[in-house]
Amino acid sequence: MRLRYSPASPFVRKVVVAAMETGLDGRIERIATDPMKRKDRDGAPNPLGKVPSLETDDGIEIYDSPVIVEYLDHVAGGNRLIPASGRARWDALRRQALADGILENTILVFIETLRKPDRRSENWIAHNRRVIARAIDALEAEAAGLGEAADIGHLTVAIALDFVDQHFPDQDWRATHPTLARWFDRYRTRLSLAATRLEPASAPG
């Protein structure tokens, strides 16, 4: 398998973490891709120019990250990252969707801050930061139910909180979300997470 890879993308990180958790990491060749660079975007198999994108051994190109995660889960025999059925399945997938939302909104803020100050919308930044704050509130409300499971819900929530810390070091969410903070500080020491810390994103090219 070949993975279009960027060391700055949290969605790529999710796929790499998923591969490590299922023992598939050694079967995936990484192809460095910078989605901020036009040349890499135009050459990408994903017409949207996004990473991650995974080419399977059958030569099929799959994306975006939830589809890739499901594929890796399938290759690993199933029921590893995504519980096969019932409440556990919906919890894992819902948490992934919520955490993906945090990531998307954080990226929207990041992209907005790259604009020239006079073209920047402070309202848009504030709107997205409010969405992120509400999502973290929702995670705190269910944090007592988070444990040690290595399903895609837990893993993506940890990746999202790391990304928030990286991009908004001023946002002291831990003080107001103590249960989530305790869970996160323990969970983020997992090998797959500790081994995949992100590099800062580059400016667009």
Partner: protein, 203 residues
């Protein structure tokens, strides 16, 4: 079971179509959300403030649209639209992901166009629309793969094309005859007609 939607949201439309196609629409209580009204937006149970959001009778929240579609598909009803296994699933979910991804770019391009003077960037709008063009080109090239039973992928595609045409007009059809022919046939489905916002009909 309650489904929060806004009439123009292509992602919510996808879920409403699944419910109609499977004959379970009468079990859904539809709640209209006005995303431009902060009060109405805050009442959506999705912490991300987005539609669609599905709240089950036992209080379980389901987000986002691919998961809601899958949930509605698992209710007893007419033939399924979300294959759960094998190549059929990968084909359907991949098509859904491409259609939704293009739709995301259409939404961002439209938001950019609607920014106030000074904060608007032609470059950003152009970049997003370039993604849309590349995505539509890929779909045109692979249009033969749209044959076969209707899945969630087709529904996502139909909703995306309808929304894109509503926002950016009919130009996309000129270089994509096969995709346009597919869309025109698909858009005649009663579920597509029933979920089409009135302003989209006159567009």
């Amino acid at each position: 079971m309650k489904l929060w939607y806004s009439p123009r949201s292509p992602y919510a439309r996808k879920c409403r179509i699944v419910a109609i196609e499977r004959g379970v629409a009468d079990r859904l209580e539809l709640v209209t959300a006005d995303l431009a009204d902060p009060k109405s937006a805050q009442a959506i149970p999705n912490p991300l403030g987005k539609v669609p959001a599905l709240l089950l009778d036992d209080g379980t929240l389901i987000i986002d649209s691919p998961l809601i579609a899958e949930h509605l598909d698992q209710m007893p009803g007419l033939p399924n639209l979300v294959p759960m296994e094998g190549p059929a699933r990968r084909h359907a979910t991949q098509l859904e992901a491409i259609a939704d991804g293009i739709c995301d770019a259409v939404v961002l391009a439209n938001l950019e166009r609607n920014r106030r003077d000074g904060e608007r960037s032609e470059t950003v709008k152009t970049q997003q629309l370039a993604k849309v063009e590349r995505g539509l080109d890929l779909l045109e090239r692979d249009a033969a793969r749209l044959d076969g039973p209707v899945t969630i992928g087709h529904i996502a595609l139909g909703c995306m094309l309808g929304y894109h045409e509503f926002r950016f007009g009919r130009d996309w059809r000129r270089t994509r005859p096969r995709l346009a022919a597919w869309y025109d046939a698909f858009a005649r489905r009663p579920s597509m007609q029933e979920t089409m916002p009135p302003e989209m009909k006159s567009a």
